[in-house]
């Protein structure tokens, strides 16, 4: 069985997820081919370690258009009959990969974060029920499978040579959903609800002048700074940064709470976060009842030490 990786690109650059897919493909038996669907496929260098073949699929659009990519993927799968087709679990893939898999009657699973073999068949691991449980899924009776892999789980493949290049022509077809332009979000508008990692500070900060150093730490750690209500009430931070019942509800992968006691109204805004780490000098702080990890310590001491690490 062969593995087909579909590269993803945006605005002329190859996206990192492509390299991750190649690494994942390496875990499966069989030759690995990487398909590049683009106006000028050659512009994207996918000569990575583990890639045996590169397939150029030239299409008529610069950026992603779902009908075009759908037709291209369908052609690739019909022509090459790969056992496993890998794409990233990304916004663009969501727009066409399931369509192809459903139409062709293939096996399918998305947001996959683990791969394994069971005899000839591939077994994928994914989460269910809001990530509270995981499951191994397989695809009995399906010769071909399409999987969308969760980004940043697999390491990125290094460059490597040795891949041959072929092309697959695809007849031009209708594109009923056409890319017109891109729009950037206005800068400076921080949406804490979309951050994967929030460093959140509360009353324990005590002094407005401590905020800049905590903001700097957040940036170093790759976190977005958010706050609990008292700091917004005090006028130290805008309400867009506020987590809680009267602020925003957030569900980041990691919520690091420094100096937040965990009032009911605050917990309501963040308790479904993936991992909650709380630092507070009060061993009875309510947040320890909801946090996954806790430390009874001075937040500034811990922040100082974290700063040294990043």
């Amino acid at each position: 069985m062969s593995v087909l990786v579909v590269a993803e690109h945006l605005r002329g650059k190859l996206r990192d997820v492509t390299r991750e897919l190649v690494t994942a493909a390496g875990e499966l038996p069989g030759p690995v081919a990487v398909a590049v669907i683009a106006k000028d496929p050659a512009a994207f260098d996918v000569r990575l370690a583990g890639v045996d073949e590169i397939v150029h699929v030239a299409v008529d659009c610069e950026e992603f258009e779902s009908d075009v990519y759908r037709a291209a993927l369908e052609a690739l799968i019909r022509e090459r009959r790969p056992g496993v087709t890998l794409l990233g679990f990304t916004v663009n893939s969501m727009g066409y990969a399931p369509a192809v898999a459903a139409k062709l009657g293939l096996g399918f699973a998305s947001d996959v974060h683990g791969l394994a073999q069971s005899g000839d068949a591939v077994v994928a691991t994914r989460s269910f029920y809001g990530a509270k449980v995981q499951a191994e899924v397989d695809f009995p009776g399906r010769e071909q499978v399409v999987l969308l892999l969760r980004p940043t789980v697999w390491p990125q493949a290094e460059n490597g040579g040795g891949a041959s290049t072929t092309s697959l022509p695809v007849p031009a077809g209708a594109s009923r959903a056409r890319h017109r332009s891109f729009e950037e979000q206005p800068p400076g508008d921080v949406d804490i609800t979309t951050a994967d990692f929030l460093l959140s500070v509360g009353r324990g900060v005590e002094d407005k002048d401590s905020l800049p150093e905590l903001a700097a730490l957040a940036e170093k750690m790759g976190a977005v700074l958010s706050v609990s209500r008292p700091l917004v009430d005090a006028g130290w931070m805008p309400s867009a940064r506020q987590v809680g019942q009267s602020g925003k509800t957030v569900k980041p992968k990691v919520y690091l709470a420094l100096g937040i006691s965990g009032a009911v109204q605050h917990l309501a805004g963040m308790k479904t976060s993936g991992t909650i780490i709380a630092v507070n000098t009060d061993p009875e702080a309510a947040i320890f009842g909801t946090a996954h990890y806790g430390a009874v310590a001075d937040l500034f001491d811990v922040a100082e030490e974290l700063d040294k690490l990043y």
Partner: protein
């Protein structure tokens, strides 16, 4: 000489006829106004009235004794008492004259207004007339010199010139004072004309008459002056009477009427929706949606401002003043269906127009914690809280609620609790106890503990819940809980205006309870206690319900709790709104605290005057809308406690109070100065149970 005087002494028949003509005109104007008011009230939604006789009797007692006016302001009460009785006596005094002149003399040839009766009458009227003047002076001083905040008509939600109101108030005082003054003057002139000696029984008039005579006034001059003064006084008096339905003076009619018709359970037992209601039947949207009683109550308002003063939302800087809400509604009623609309006098309102938005702002309605401080203190029995609730019902029905509130209500609908937690988690606290808690669904139990959301799910409150469980276990009380089957009682859901959701929760709870075998329900949550006790009967669920403070007191008094030693702390107790004002339970928690040996000192605003923590009415589920920098009601309350001096513990008996005040102690920087204790926690401490560690650090035997 017979002690009496000739009525209409100097008047010709034509003049007397003219006078009676004036009476007819003024009475007609008065009646027209009064009838038009009734027509206005009848434009409202119909509502039945029960027990009319007892209501009137009770209203008479309240009005005549001024018992509602007296509360929390004895000075204004004294002033008003003097004005009230002064006016009444003087008014009836004229009636007495008419009685003889127009009834007993012509019909029965009976004259009583002479001799002893006349002298007593004269003295009586003079004294009450003086009282009237003194009362008016008291009010003038209060209004003009002392300037209490509640008479400051400035609104928290908009800047507006209130000059019209102030003018109206002073005009009212002025006219009455003018009448008192001219009354005495005309009496003086009358006496000065012939100076009969028995008129000393009208001491004030007699003294002034003597002064006039001493100043050289002749009988002739006095007679002329008397004639003028008599007509002036008479015309103004008749003018005043005829104006009553059209001015501030209408409170003289509407006030007592409202006292008679008001619902004693206003706000405490909210009305059900009609079955299968159409959108226009849900809550209040237009002025004509108000019931006739509520329309009447709008006219009873005297702008005394007691509700404005008492309101915790206003004190916390929220855009709500109960007084202004009522006055706004009154403006609309008058301008849409009342006298102003008839006369085409601006500001006019369209009776079909939606109240919500203009002039009632949604934030005004959402600011309310439904604490009932306004209803409690209103001297004329206006029902601000149910009115706000009805306006909220319409907002909710139209889907106009803030996103926080919306998600909370959706969570309540989906999971049966306001935390959005899975049902299984409700009784998780019970698993951390060193004994098993009985499942009231499966076994008969004496006391069924309806725990409530905050007591079940909030970590800080779970400490108090576990403390109570341990106390009851130590006292060998047969109690059980409903575990996963419990749904939130719905008190605040109802007060937010989501009537359908409350009903659905209540019906579920009633069914669950109906399948259980128990003698009595108790709860440590006053909101749960309140709605189960007072509102579930509306849907057929009626059981005895008590609050845990009452249960604890019973146990202490029956000797079932071994209190090992008196607790050496100085504490103060905060009356929860739904336990205190709503249900009158003030003493049991205090008696429990005293039985523990604590030095209990009351907050300045206690019992029925307790100051709400700010969580009620669903506010704990809503976005913060007070302007930045304003001091929240809960923080103000902590200030009040700290100001008592030397208080170790701020004691509460409501789970929402626990959450609000723990937060307030932190945010106002009072950690270390004062600590919060829930009632059960102190009782537990006094029990000194063996191996008495804080419940959550105790090792737990889990059943897996």
């Amino acid at each position: 000489m017979t002690e009496t005087r000739q009525t209409f002494a100097q008047l010709t028949h034509w003049e007397i006829a003219f006078w009676y003509g004036l009476i007819v005109v003024s009475t007609t104007i008065f009646l027209a106004g009064a009838v038009r008011l009734v027509v206005k009230y009848r434009r409202g939604r119909p509502e039945g009235l029960d027990r009319i006789g007892p209501r009137l009797a009770r209203a008479a007692r309240i009005v005549l004794s001024h018992s509602w006016i007296r509360r929390r302001d004895p000075v204004a009460a004294a002033g008003h008492l003097l004005i009230f009785y002064g006016f009444l006596v003087l008014f009836l005094g004229s009636g007495v004259l008419a009685l003889e002149d127009d009834v007993t003399k012509p019909l029965f040839h009976f004259q009583f207004w002479r001799n002893g009766f006349y002298l007593g009458y004269s003295l009586f009227l003079d004294v009450f007339g003086l009282g009237l003047a003194v009362g008016l002076a008291v009010m003038a001083v209060k209004r003009g010199l002392l300037r209490p905040t509640r008479l400051d008509y400035r609104r928290p939600d908009r800047s507006e010139n209130r000059a019209r109101y102030v003018l109206g108030d002073w005009a009212f005082l002025g006219i009455l004072f003018f009448l008192a003054l001219t009354g005495f003057l005309l009496e003086a002139f009358r006496i000065a004309e012939h100076d009969p000696s028995f008129e000393v029984w009208s001491p004030l008039g007699w003294s002034v008459a003597q002064a006039f005579r001493a100043a050289g006034m002749t009988g002739q001059e006095a007679a002329s002056a008397h004639f003028v003064q008599w007509w002036v006084h008479g015309a103004v008096a008749l003018g005043f009477v005829s104006s009553i339905p059209y001015t501030k003076a209408v409170h003289m009619l509407a006030g007592p009427a409202n006292v008679a018709v008001r619902d004693d359970r206003a706000g405490k037992r909210l009305p059900l929706l009609p079955p299968n209601p159409k959108p226009e039947e849900v809550g209040y949207g237009r002025i004509t949606d108000l019931t006739w009683r509520h329309l009447l109550s709008l006219d009873a308002c005297t702008k005394c401002g007691k509700c404005h003063d008492a309101c915790p939302a206003r004190a916390g800087g929220y855009p709500l003043s109960p007084r202004d809400l009522i006055l706004d509604l009154r403006e609309v009623a008058e301008g849409a269906i009342g006298l102003r609309s008839v006369g085409g006098i601006a500001p006019l309102y369209d009776e079909q127009a939606d109240l919500l938005g203009n002039p009632i702002a949604a934030e005004t309605l959402w600011s309310c914690t439904q604490c009932m401080a306004c209803v409690e203190i209103c001297p004329v029995g206006i029902e601000h809280v149910p009115i706000i609730n009805q306006l909220r019902r319409r907002l909710v029905d139209q889907g106009e609620l803030d996103t926080m509130l919306q998600s909370t209500l959706e969570a309540v609908h989906n999971t049966g609790n306001s935390f959005g937690e899975p049902k299984r988690k409700r009784a998780r606290w019970a698993k951390e106890l060193p004994f098993e808690v009985k499942d009231a669904r499966r076994e008969p139990t004496e006391q069924l503990w309806f725990v409530g959301d905050y007591a079940s799910f909030d970590p800080r409150n779970q400490r108090a819940t576990k403390a109570l469980a341990r106390i009851l276990h130590a006292a060998d009380v047969d109690f059980g809980i409903l575990f996963d089957a419990e749904r939130t009682g719905g008190c605040d859901v109802r007060r937010v205006g989501e009537e359908g959701l409350w009903r659905s929760l209540a019906e579920e709870n009633i069914e669950t309870l109906g399948n259980c075998d128990f003698e009595r329900i108790f709860s440590s949550d006053p909101h749960t206690f309140h709605t189960l006790r007072n509102e579930y009967p509306l849907l057929g669920g009626e059981w005895p319900v008590v609050h845990h403070s009452q249960l604890l007191l019973e146990l202490i008094e029956a000797g079932r709790l071994e209190l090992s030693r008196p607790l050496p702390y100085r504490v103060t107790y905060h009356d929860p709104c739904t336990l205190g004002r709503y249900n009158g339970v003030y003493e049991p928690p205090r008696r429990v605290l005293r039985a523990l040996g604590l030095d209990l000192v009351d907050l300045p605003r206690n019992r029925d005057n307790s100051f709400c923590c700010g969580a009620g009415g669903g506010r704990i589920w809503m976005k913060e809308i007070a302007p930045a920098g304003s001091r929240r009601p809960s923080e103000q309350r902590i200030d009040e406690a700290v100001a008592l001096g030397g208080v170790d513990y701020f004691v509460v008996a409501c789970p929402k109070d626990v959450a609000m005040f723990e937060d307030a102690i932190k945010t106002s920087g009072r950690q270390g100065t004062i600590e919060l204790r829930e009632l059960s926690e102190l009782v537990l401490e006094a029990l000194d149970l063996p191996a008495d560690a804080e419940p959550e650090t105790e090792t737990v035997e889990e059943e897996t």
